[in-house]
Symmetry: C2
Subunit: 495 residues, 2 copies
């Protein structure tokens, strides 16, 4: 028997540089590729005319196929699948609010968010999907190639098979392909009990036909679309953030010359770039946060949840803050046809999600907050500098007002490098939108605050290879940061 | 106000090379340093004469301060602290046994395993502790500087304060120090329900006096002691494995010349070394294993646990296999004085814990098994090629017989690079010992097995910076692998 391990060239290089470079090159492919943005625009508009979801709010008691458990009041589907709405009783050993109750979505199955990529003309392209979801204010948004709950792909709802799913199924896969990212990441810990999705990026090495509703775009094109309100959906943003990005030294990139911000950003994405803290210090800081805070989150009956009441066909907090659990009736047309009802979460007010960034040395750093949320798998995750819905703080103690919120809200246009309204997941959240911001600052005040650390972008990218370090909002902002790497004018109006 | 971020030299380098090199240098400090091994030997022997633990088995019903809960039969301390012995009902969607019940130790608090290091004469030294534990067959072993459950350091047992603990407490720390590792790692998932300890290595930059029972050793000296049976305890091994090791290219190390095995090992510890699989592939493989297996582990009453019975003052499996829950009475003398009783786990038979290793290209790779255990936080962890107690398999179906066990047991001395009997944690396990082996192979048969992958050592080291990837047995073997890096003769008889 010949020794298969003796074959030359068997070893992969110790670093992921070749892939990282191809990703960075695709991010610099600003337009062109196999679809140009003008064509995309008319295709997307045309597709939007053929696809729609008529969504109507209905009282929870009118949901069809969903029932409230007679003992607990929990809302569940008669098949036992999809998700349930339950109560959560939370105690925290640190933070401004030591104990509270809230409704929570329990969806223990791990779904797949999969992005298929393929080289055309030497440049990586992403197979993006135009997808209507009931919670999207504007109906159609761009999603990754596959966005499937386990209920979806086991086809509980009796729908059609999920296109392209086989590329993300290791047991079924036979086509030549390369996995660029494959990691379970959390979603909103304020609304979900330990929900995670598997974020996957798979490069196919053979022809793949785009079906109706799918389009090949370069990363640079997707990044441009990220500058427009409500186009790139949450699932697309989280998958994009998990790509193993790394940029060349800006000195090798003549188009960055003279652009201080972008040069600092590119340096920050270089794997060998310096950083204010070593990775050991960052990891120790996270370990400390996860060790020092005790979170006791106990699932309890939705009926009789302190502070919450069912009235007018919805479940609301007695102050009218936070969010409501509502019912909706959906009638979808176009590629995905269907009629159904479901519960959804309706947030009150538009949130603010922001990174303060600054140069340290000549490397851009983001001010990262280690944040405890009741629904996280592992106590705390890395979050944006600011992540809140400001009106909620009217009913909380003054010391709960988020640090740095006022600095972000007061920032002038000369400091705002990115500002776009983006939607949260349209399958569970009804019209949930946040204003995403990247704001340059010269503050040094946070040098030693135990809940904040300055991190270089490559440090966030490194942690994004692993589960449950970077929260969903920070992942969106990482995708937004990457979108600034290929622009000479970092603030632009998108498509 | 001056901008603190403008100060020159503020950034840390993007890689941890300086620290990794100092660690590797200490591993090559084979003897000498501030303690030589001859002195250590007589000190350790002398200390052993002054320290002892008389341990006597007693019936569970004679435990003092521990009681069986009248409703569940669970064994707990009257203070509610320390740990409880409960039942666990386990269902697994894959594997030879789909459902079983077993007693399990529930110890949700996160303890600290801390190693203090300090440079003397330019070489890092570890402050090791000679520590008697009731479960150690030979009484005294070498432990890390600090080995403290939360009950220990909050002093529930009314004992003396834990020496050196303040160096590992971020909130108390004031001395100049540098954190080299700080990560929560799991322990035996077959005996503990989600137990984790915080593994910390802290370098102090000021004088630290070794108290009675403590000694400064180089890493190379600790590594030599790892070649002797039952000297370096489990807690020391796990902390050592979390050190950010990286070796220079063997070409720069003349003492490795002509030693094929050691050169391949040193290459394997180099961060830029090649590997059969990219890190993305390894991470995807782990994600797949954690996604495809459903583990439902439910805590249930110890009373009436199917297959287990209380008789003769202990809890045993009806086949006599696996382990017993026993009671012990301890009388300790020497530095740590005390009398107490406690439940312990007594395993049946000596286990086998082994890595098959081989060169791929010219880089040493270990054959790693992704293993599901009921008590893990996150479904599966990376385990040795073989990890089992052979007699247990007599009562399980034939297909449960561990792969590669026969190859390991049949290996001739020319293939065995490491072989030592090491003890498991002596605070919970009574005389639990495993034969740890590193065996060279030329098998290629496992090229594509879904539960096994060949990994370079630097890939294991990289994952060890993060929680819950590498299990306790594999971590011991990683420490053993490192111990071979500084030897011209890889098999030696230790002290």
């Amino acid at each position: 028997m010949t020794d298969v391990f003796a074959r030359p060239g068997l070893l992969s290089p110790g670093t992921g540089e070749p892939t990282a470079q191809r990703i960075a090159d695709s991010a610099r492919a600003w337009d062109g590729g196999i679809t140009d943005l003008a064509d995309f625009r008319s295709w997307f508009a045309g597709y939007g005319e053929r696809s729609y979801a008529h969504v109507e709010r209905i009282p929870l008691e009118d949901l069809d196929g969903w029932r409230r458990d007679p003992e607990t009041g929990n809302i569940r589907h008669h098949t036992g699948r999809f998700f349930t709405v339950e109560g959560l009783d939370v105690r925290m050993s640190r933070g401004p609010v030591a104990r509270w109750s809230q409704p929570i979505i329990n969806q223990p199955e791990i779904g797949v968010l999969g992005l298929l990529v393929r080289e055309f003309g030497g440049t990586l392209h992403c197979l993006m999907q135009a997808k209507v979801e009931p919670g999207n204010r504007n109906g159609l948004q761009l999603s990754p190639t596959v966005q499937a709950t386990r209920s979806n792909y086991t086809r509980v709802h009796g729908g059609r098979p999920v296109p392209y799913l086989r590329y993300f199924d290791h047991s079924a896969a036979s086509s030549p392909r390369r996995v660029l990212a494959d990691v379970r990441q959390s979603e909103q810990g304020s609304a979900f009990h330990r929900k995670r999705n598997r974020n996957m990026v798979v490069e196919v090495l053979e022809d793949v036909e785009p079906l109706d509703g799918f389009v090949w775009l370069t990363l640079g094109q997707v990044h441009r679309l990220l500058a427009a309100d409500d186009i790139v959906n949450m699932d697309a943003r989280t998958v994009l953030s998990c790509l193993p990005f790394a940029h060349r030294d800006p000195q090798e990139m003549p188009d960055a010359e003279g652009d201080r911000f972008r040069s600092a950003l590119l340096r920050s994405c270089g794997r060998a770039a310096g950083s204010l803290h070593t990775m050991e210090e960052i990891l120790s800081w996270i370990t400390e946060a996860r060790t020092r805070t005790d979170v006791r989150a106990r699932r309890v009956p939705l009926d009789g949840l302190p502070g919450w009441r069912t009235a007018g066909g919805r479940i609301s907090h007695e102050t009218g803050r936070f969010f409501d659990v509502i019912g909706v009736r959906v009638e979808a047309g176009g590629r995905e046809v269907g009629r159904w009802t479901q519960p959804m979460i309706e947030s009150h007010g538009t949130g603010v999600v922001a990174f303060l960034v600054r140069e340290i040395g000549d490397v851009l750093h983001a001010l990262v907050n280690v944040r405890v949320e009741a629904g996280y798998m592992d106590v705390a995750e890395l979050a944006p500098t600011v992540q809140c819905t400001p009106p909620n703080y009217d009913v909380l103690p003054a010391e709960a007002r988020p640090r740095f919120l006022d600095e972000v809200l007061a920032a002038g246009p000369d400091r705002i490098r990115y500002e776009t309204i983006l939607s949260e997941e349209g399958g569970r959240f009804y019209h949930a939108r946040n204003r995403y911001l990247i704001v340059e600052t010269d503050t040094a005040a946070t040098f030693d605050h135990p809940d904040f650390r300055w991190m270089a972008v490559h440090q966030l990218v490194d942690l994004l290879r692993h589960s449950h370090y970077v929260n969903i909002q920070a992942r969106s902002l990482v995708a937004c940061l990457h979108s600034l790497s290929a622009r000479s004018n970092s603030r632009c109006s998108g498509i």
